[in-house]
Amino acid sequence: MDPDLALLLNGIVSGLLLGGLYAAAAAGLSISFGMLDVVNIAHPAFMVLGALLVALLWGATGIDPLILSVLLTPAFWALGAAIYVVYHHFFERRGDEAIQGLAFFFGVMFIIEVGLVLAIGPEQHFADAAYAGITWRLGEIDLPLRMLVPALVAFAAIGGLALFLRRSFTGRAIAAVAQDREALRLLAIDPVRIKRLAFGISIAMAALAGGALVVVQPVDAWSGHVFIGRVFAVVIMGGLSSLGGCVLAALAFGVVENVTASFYGPSWSPAVAFGCLLLVLAIRPQGFFGRVA
């Protein structure tokens, strides 16, 4: 095969796998930011918190990191619910969420990150899954399991989440709270309870994404920063509240970044990806898959 073509194909495939990781990171945000209107800028920090906890637990027990991250989700759900209670009490109730709420999550992000640095140090942590060294080869195309397994787990989790939102009563209530919370009140459903539940789910997704992240790459306390822009970019390009759009946007984002990195060097890839987002915001603020409000 022509080496350029092989490079392009490999770039696209590993971009799709990277997109799986982005989708996992962005799916939780798509719930909190897209559906609940809670601009949780600390979402990547929760992901890193999950990743580092998984790494520490892996070091102590040797259980597979992805299983550990699934085990962590209930704790993260509770954490998310608690944070939503605080957020609701101080900001949403007063109608101050715009600037003050944003600043609140900005502060929470710094507390998590610096807390991690003070507690376990600034060095990188990693967790080696049993399959991390294996690479499947399909002709010229490499499929490293280190990337493939987290991506598949992420897609499975997002699929389950989409099913939950579409089929179950609570899931439909979450989708409804995004559209009209007063109408929800008329159905005798407490919108605050629903939002608390949904915000917990979004943070639990962050724990899962953290588990996927720590399998893919070593993580330190500041790793979340590079993800802030990316996950918000993915969620906005995906049209906010649509999980399917979020996955497609994540895949597109991963491919654009990776192909740019393979052909022009990795230092250019953020500019191309974020340039795309700036253009999307300037031309089509509702995203590719969103409806005009």
Partner: protein, 327 residues
């Protein structure tokens, strides 16, 4: 959205208003006294700490013009700050100019960048605007990392000139005096804007953009003016940075600590008035300097985070708001 700010407006004390010239004179006097006082202390560390704190006064005041008066949250403060710093590096290297002309160029670059951001993001509000500015920061950082002329990701060394301008005995003293003047000018500009028609228009579009537009406020033009002025002033805040540390590299110049501080300081002080960012910046930056010296540099970001969270929860209108309510 921010309906809660409207009832607070009539409590502004109308009588005893200081005019614009009087306020500018007062700021000049304060600047002069501060320079003389710092001269009196005369230690290199005092100069460094004062410059550090004052650069945040300029940055926070600049951020507040767009974020506080107009209600547009800019997460990209670090981008403008770094644009100023790198203007100094590039202009200093290309033309061999000294600090003062570089600050002028930085204002120009920051203003153009602010205007560009404004034009590109005119249709965005709230979180979208915030995220667009965050993107701008990433794009700009990537460009600087790939720009070899200013050192790329290796960073650039800037040698302080050997001869020091006349009345000063060391370059840090000169740098500090420049920063005092910049800070005083920034606060005076912010107050002039706040008390002028521009400030009233910005406040109107912050409270309800559609209503302001309907009432004949030229929201589009006001937003562009605000982004330009705010961008220019943030770049000015960053311009002396290379000379302060003799070295800049993209990761620290674009560091999130500038972005978080630029937001935290006005919010802690109170966003509605010129005094808010000033109080917030002095308080928070001194606290950080103290924490860096006595505990560790990781702890100072922790302090910013905790103070920010406590303040937005307990005192949503900042320190100024606390005093207003007691009256």
């Amino acid at each position: 959205m921010s309906d809660t700010t409207i009832p607070a407006m009539p409590t502004l004390p109308a009588p005893r208003r200081t005019g614009h010239p009087a306020f500018w004179l007062a700021s000049a006097a304060v600047a002069l006294v501060s320079i003389l006082a710092l001269r009196g202390i005369g230690s290199e560390y005092a100069y460094f700490a004062a410059t550090f704190i004052l650069q945040y006064v300029v940055l926070a005041t600049a951020w507040n013009i767009l974020g506080g008066y107009a209600g547009y949250v800019n997460f990209g403060a670090a981008a403008f700050f770094a644009a100023g710093a790198y203007t100094t590096v590039a202009i200093g290297k290309a033309l061999g100019l000294s600090l003062l002309p570089c600050i002028g160029f930085a204002a120009l670059v920051g203003g153009v960048l602010g205007l560009g951001t404004g034009i590109l993001t005119l249709r965005l509000r709230g979180a979208y605007f915030a995220i667009a500015t965050l993107c701008l920061s990433v794009v700009l950082q990537t460009i600087v990392v790939n720009w070899d002329y200013v050192g790329g990701s290796r960073g650039a060394y800037v040698i302080r000139p050997r001869e020091v301008p006349w009345p000063f005995e060391s370059y840090s003293g000169y740098l500090c005096a420049v920063m005092v003047v910049l800070a005083a000018a920034a606060v005076a500009i912010a107050r002039s804007i706040e008390k002028s028609r521009l400030g009233l228009g910005l406040a109107a579009l912050r409270d309800d953009e559609a209503a302001a537009e309907a009432a004949g406020v030229p929201t589009l033009r006001l937003k562009l003016i605000a982004t330009t002025i705010s961008g220019a002033m943030m770049a000015v805040a960053g311009a002396p940075l290379p000379l302060l540390g003799s070295y800049v590299e993209p990761n620290s110049a674009f560091g999130l600590s500038y972005a978080v501080n630029a937001i935290a300081m006005p919010l802690i002080g109170g966003t509605g008035s010129w005094a808010g960012p000033l109080i917030g910046a002095v308080l928070l930056a001194s606290l950080q300097q103290a924490a860096t010296v006595t505990i560790s540099s990781a702890a100072n970001l922790m302090i910013v985070g905790v103070v920010l969270v406590v303040f937005v929860c307990a005192a949503p209108h900042g320190i100024i708001g606390l005093f207003r309510r007691q009256k």
